[in-house]
Amino acid sequence: MTNDREQKNGSATVTLEVTDVSRQKLVRARKVSRDASVSELVRDILPQMRLPATSGRGEPYTYHVRLEREGRHLHGSERVGDALQENDRIVLQPNIDAGAR
C-alpha cells in the first residue's frame, strides 16, 4: 500500500549522509522516512553519531542541521521529504558551552 507522497517520490524513504562538525565522522542513514520531521531525524541520528541529547545536568543540547547542498540550516519542523533529496549530506552542529562554570 502506498500513499500519495510515496507515489510522487517513488520511495517512502531516503538515504542521507550525516557528518559531525569536524567532518571526521560520517554516518550513512538509510531508510529515513520522508514523513519524518527534521527534529525527529536528529533525535534518531544522535545515538548513531554518539552525540548526547542532554548534558550531564539533564539540559537538552540544541543541534542545528546544515544542508550542504543549499548552504542553509533546516528548521526542525521541516519534513525530510520536502527538504532533503536522496544522498544529501547534512552536518549536525550543536550549540555547546566551554567554561569554568
Binding site: L26, V27, R28, H64, H73, Q93, I96, G99
Partner: protein, 350 residues
C-alpha cells in the same frame, strides 16, 4: 576466550547501593584511542570509523581478586593493547548515581565510591559489537581515510621546544609559537570574557620510526560565539564559519582541536589576594564542560585542546600559562607538546 559483562558497583559508607551496567557505547572513547595506537604503529591502516576487532579482558584487582576489576585490557591487531583503569568510568558512575538519588539511597551531592566488577557471561553479551545500531543496517559509519603526510620526525621537531609534562608513549604534538601568540593576543583583547577558536592542522607519518605526529598549522578565532565571564558558547554559526575558513584556506586541513581561555587574573581581580593562592580558578584546569565539549566535538584520539590561563605563581605574581589536553586511554588529560619557533628564528639557528 571467556566473555564478561562489566558493571559499576556504587557504594556509600561501605554499603553497596547497587550496580549499573557498562554498555558497549561506554567503551567508545577507549576503543577510539586503542585503534589510533594501532594506526600509529602501522598495525592498522589510517582509516577513521573502521571498528577493528577488539578483545576485552578484566585485569583483576590484585588484593580482592575476581570479580573486582582493576582495569580492562583491550587488545587489537598488532597486537596493540592498553589497560583502561577504573577511573575511566568516573563520569558514568556520576550519571549512575542519579538513579540512586531518585531512589532515596543517596542524597544529592553526597560522596560515594564506585568499583568495577565483571562476571562471566554468554558470548552474545560480549562487548565486541560497539556499532550501537538499534536498527541494524539503517545506520552505518562510513570508514574514511585519514590523510597523513610522510615526514621525518627529526626534521619536523628540530629546534622545537618541549613544554608541558609528556605522558609515556604519547604522540608528539607540534604547535607553532605564532599560534600561541595569536591566541594570547586574543585573550588579552577579550579581558575578563572567555574567548576561543579552532585549531587546524595535519598528521605526519614517519614510516621508518612507525610513528605519527600532529602538527597544528593555524588557529581560527571562533566567530558567532556567546562569550560570558566564565562561559563560551560555540554556536551552529561558529561551526559554519570555521568550515568556510578551512575551504577558503584550501589546504585540506583537519579540525584537530580547539583553544579557549581561562582569564583568571581578570576573574579574580576583585577578590582578596590571599584567596588567589588557593583559588582553583588560578591554576591549570579543564572543567567538566570543557571535557564534554572535547568529547562531543573532538572525539578522535589525536585531537587536542589548548587552554590559555593565568596562575598566581608562587603566591607572588600573576603569570600567563598554556596547557594542552588530549586523549589518553579514552580519557582527557593534560599532555606534553612541542613549540616550533617562528620560521625566521629557525633559519637563524641553522
Amino acid at each position: 576466550m571467556r566473555r564478561f559483562r562489566y558493571l559499576l558497583e556504587l557504594l556509600h559508607n561501605g554499603d553497596v547501593l547497587g550496580r549499573h551496567p557498562v554498555t558497549p557505547d561506554n567503551f567508545a572513547p577507549a576503543l577510539e584511542w586503542l585503534s589510533f595506537q594501532a594506526m600509529r604503529s602501522g598495525a592498522l591502516p589510517l582509516e577513521l570509523g573502521a571498528h577493528p576487532e577488539i578483545e576485552y579482558a578484566p585485569v583483576w584487582d590484585a588484593q580482592r581478586g575476581e570479580p573486582y576489576v582493576e582495569a580492562i585490557r583491550l587488545t587489537t591487531t598488532g597486537p596493540t593493547e592498553g589497560d583502561i583503569p577504573a577511573v575511566y568510568f568516573s563520569r558514568l558512575a556520576e550519571e549512575a548515581s542519579a538513579t540512586f538519588v531518585t531512589e532515596g539511597k543517596l542524597k544529592q551531592g553526597e560522596l560515594f565510591r564506585f568499583r568495577v566488577v565483571a562476571f562471566g557471561c554468554a558470548e552474545e553479551a560480549d562487548h565486541g559489537d560497539v556499532s550501537g545500531n538499534g536498527d541494524a543496517g539503517a545506520f552505518e559509519e562510513v570508514p574514511q581515510p585519514l590523510a597523513c603526510e610522510e615526514s621525518r620526525l627529526e626534521a619536523l621537531l628540530d629546534h622545537a621546544e618541549v613544554r608541558g609534562t609528556a605522558q609515556p608513549g604519547e604522540m608528539p604534538v607540534l604547535i607553532p609559537q605564532r599560534v600561541l601568540d595569536e591566541a594570547e593576543a586574543l585573550k588579552r583583547e577579550a579581558g575578563g570574557l572567555e574567548t576561543g577558536g579552532i585549531l587546524l592542522g595535519r598528521l605526519h607519518r614517519d614510516s621508518e620510526r612507525r610513528e605519527l605526529c600532529l602538527e597544528v598549522t593555524t588557529q581560527i578565532p571562533a566567530r558567532h560565539t556567546e562569550a560570558r565571564e566564565m562561559r563560551l558558547t560555540f554556536t551552529a554559526d561558529t561551526w559554519t564559519s570555521v568550515r568556510a575558513a578551512i575551504e577558503l584556506r584550501g589546504n585540506d586541513e583537519l579540525q584537530i582541536g580547539w583553544w579557549h581561555t581561562h582569564p583568571a587574573r581578570e576573574w579574580c581581580k576583585d577578590c582578596d589576594p590571599e584567596r588567589w593562592k588557593t583559588c582553583p580558578l588560578a591554576r591549570s584546569f579543564f572543567s567538566p564542560e570543557d571535557k564534554k565539549l572535547h568529547q562531543m566535538i573532538f572525539p578522535r584520539a589525536y585531537s587536542v585542546a589548548l587552554v590559555l590561563g593565568d596562575h598566581y605563581r608562587d603566591g607572588e605574581a600573576w603569570e600567563a600559562f598554556h596547557a594542552v589536553y588530549g586523549w589518553d586511554r579514552g580519557m582527557v588529560s593534560q599532555r606534553g607538546y612541542h613549540v616550533a619557533a617562528a620560521p625566521k628564528a629557525r633559519n637563524e639557528a641553522m
